[in-house]
């Protein structure tokens, strides 16, 4: 973990209220794991005052030339609005990589091949593309399910498709892909795919969706890793502002998380 000055290499609207920013941050790019995040000091003034947390969406470059990180963000308030107006060439302080990140499937039972199912809701796609890349690098069978309210809010379908052919989409209003919540799509996928796999589910999105997916996984006895969001101040475990209630007591989303085993969470 380091606090570094990073230069903006590009900052562009991808669609609707979603933006992508590429930052020159070699240290963070080289040490980052999927699921980890950075704290960005959006402004030098007191508005906004606190840093804002963003997942590491992609790490770019090869081998020793890895030096860029990409952030995918949704404009929802003061901080993200300031970010969206930043120009190429400007720089700011970013602290990272922070948090624990996802755990890739480990040694598995004999005769059982591991399989990852990534489930993304809305801006929850941000940390999952990096994860899909790492999983497929390790030749782990990966299925991606993307949920969005409506067609124009679908994120990263193309990015995921670069890594796996099994990408399925659902929209709440049925304007694209399967109609309904992504949990319904998840049920359907489980029905139609063979089950001689050891399945690990990775999920990031709105709280209600996480809870619902966690429940399905519990019923099926799948391991399920959820990435949680809480208001943060420090990002390093000092302020105790980002507490998550778990079966083994209070945990910190910034330090013990943001990725948790869904069975640990008191929903």
């Amino acid at each position: 973990m380091k606090d570094i000055k990073a230069k903006i290499l590009s900052n562009e609207k991808t669609r609707y209220v979603y933006y992508k920013m590429v930052l020159d941050a070699p240290y963070i790019a080289r040490s980052a794991k999927p699921g980890q995040f950075v704290e960005i000091k959006c402004s030098d003034s007191f508005e906004p005052l606190l840093r804002r947390p963003f997942s590491i969406h992609r790490v770019k470059g090869k081998g020793s030339r890895v030096k860029e990180i990409e952030i995918l963000y949704e404009v929802v308030g003061k901080g993200t609005d300031v970010l969206s107006k930043k120009q190429k060439g400007e720089s700011f302080d970013i602290l990272g990589p922070l948090g624990n990140g996802f755990v890739l499937p480990r040694a598995h039972a004999p005769n059982l091949e591991p399989r990852a199912i990534i489930i993304s809701g809305g801006i929850g796609a941000a940390p999952l593309v990096f994860l899909a890349e790492e999983l497929t690098k390790k030749k782990i069978k990966t299925i991606v399910l993307i949920g969005a309210k409506t067609k124009k809010l679908i994120l990263c379908e193309k990015d995921f498709k670069k890594f796996t052919s099994e990408v399925y989409v659902s929209t709440d209003d049925g304007t694209y892909g399967c109609k309904g919540f992504v949990s319904k799509l998840f049920h359907n996928i489980l029905k139609t795919t063979e089950s001689n796999f050891e399945t690990v589910v990775y999920v990031c999105g709105p709280h209600g969706m996480l809870k619902c997916i966690a429940q399905i996984c519990e019923e099926r006895n799948f391991e399920c890793q959820v990435s949680l969001e809480e208001n943060m101040a420090c990002g390093i475990g000092a302020c105790l502002g980002c507490v998550v209630k778990t079966k083994t007591g209070n945990k910190l989303a910034c330090k013990d998380g943001p990725v948790f085993d869904s069975k640990e969470i008191i929903w």
Binding site: M1, K41, L49, M232, C234, C242, V243
Partner: protein, 304 residues
């Protein structure tokens, strides 16, 4: 080399910049980001005798040039502090001041008694002013209770005692005097201002606890005025806290009468802010040809 050293009770600080309780964890959280040896002093997150789970989420929310927090003194209790936190703190080489709180005088007394035996602890800060715990009323809201808590702790320890005052009172000078009369070595002020924020769409409070403590740059002028008032009316050192973000803020507090200062919220925004402020104060002293920082303390010029 300009003299940055200051004394608070029996503690010699190499510079007047300390990290405020609750904003610096137990120091280890910052080890990769800050040269902990360079800081004047470290006040640890308030501990209580028994573990406290703290308040419901959300616990923090940003406000204009500030933040509200309602952590609720979450901590693992005294025994865990000694076992898990103290060994690291003891090795740093910077004075460690342990912040304590209790539900009653007895708890303050027991904690102080136990801490008194530990060599590597330089002092005790009495947090009688956290606005985020629900009890009958804060000690720091009442001069008599403040006197009694400080007196009880004074009886049991020769270590430096700093009494941390609440700004949520009508006359902070009166409370400061009570702490002084009871034998406190210094007072630190201010703790956070009680405040709240509401989401107008849902009409729900933005904090799980409804109300919380306001900190950050927005409180600075009020904190400064309180430090000014208190330091002119008591003889023990005053430690200035409240919205200090830069070396000029720190210098301003010292001119108003603070002997040292504590940095709170700024640690979240710039982890190495203490280091930056120490450097900035040095530059200020050099620029103004001040040889010893003591000359700065209370050097307020009231002639217009």
């Amino acid at each position: 080399m300009t003299g940055l050293g200051v004394k608070i009770g029996k503690i010699s600080l190499k510079n007047p910049v300390m990290a405020a309780s609750g904003t610096f964890g137990y120091a280890k959280e910052f080890e990769k980001l800050v040269n902990l040896k360079h800081i004047g002093g470290i006040i640890t997150k308030t501990i209580t005798l028994n573990p406290r789970a703290g308040n419901p989420m959300p616990r923090i929310c940003e406000t204009a040039a500030g933040m509200l927090n309602a952590i609720g003194l979450q901590n693992e209790g005294f025994d865990n502090f000694i076992k898990e936190k103290l060994p690291y703190l003891s090795k740093i080489g910077t004075p460690v001041i342990v912040s304590i709180s209790g539900n009653n005088i007895d708890e303050f007394f027991i904690l102080a008694k136990r801490l008194d035996k530990i060599k590597s602890i330089s002092g005790i800060e009495l947090n009688i002013s956290c606005p985020n715990i629900k009890c009958e009323g804060l000690v720091a809201h009442d001069a008599k209770e403040t006197y009694e808590v400080v007196k009880a702790v004074r009886k049991i320890t020769g270590k430096t005692i700093i009494t941390k005052l609440s700004p949520n009172v009508t006359d902070i000078v009166k409370i400061a005097k009570a702490a002084e009369n009871a034998g406190s070595d210094a007072v630190s002020l201010v703790n956070t201002f009680l405040g709240m924020a509401i989401d107008i769409e849902t009409r729900k409070p933005k904090l799980g606890n409804i109300t919380g403590g306001l900190s950050g740059p927005c409180i600075k002028p009020i904190a400064l005025r309180m430090v000014y008032d208190v330091s002119r009316n008591i003889d023990i050192p005053v430690i200035g806290i409240g919205g200090i973000m830069s070396a000029s803020d720190a210098v301003e507090f010292m001119i108003a009468g603070a002997s040292t200062i504590q940095i709170g919220t700024a640690n979240f925004i710039e982890p190495d802010v203490c280091g930056k402020i120490i450097k900035g104060i040095e530059e200020y002293l050099r620029k103004h040809k001040i040889e010893n920082i003591e000359e700065l303390i209370g050097s307020f010029n009231d002639k217009r």
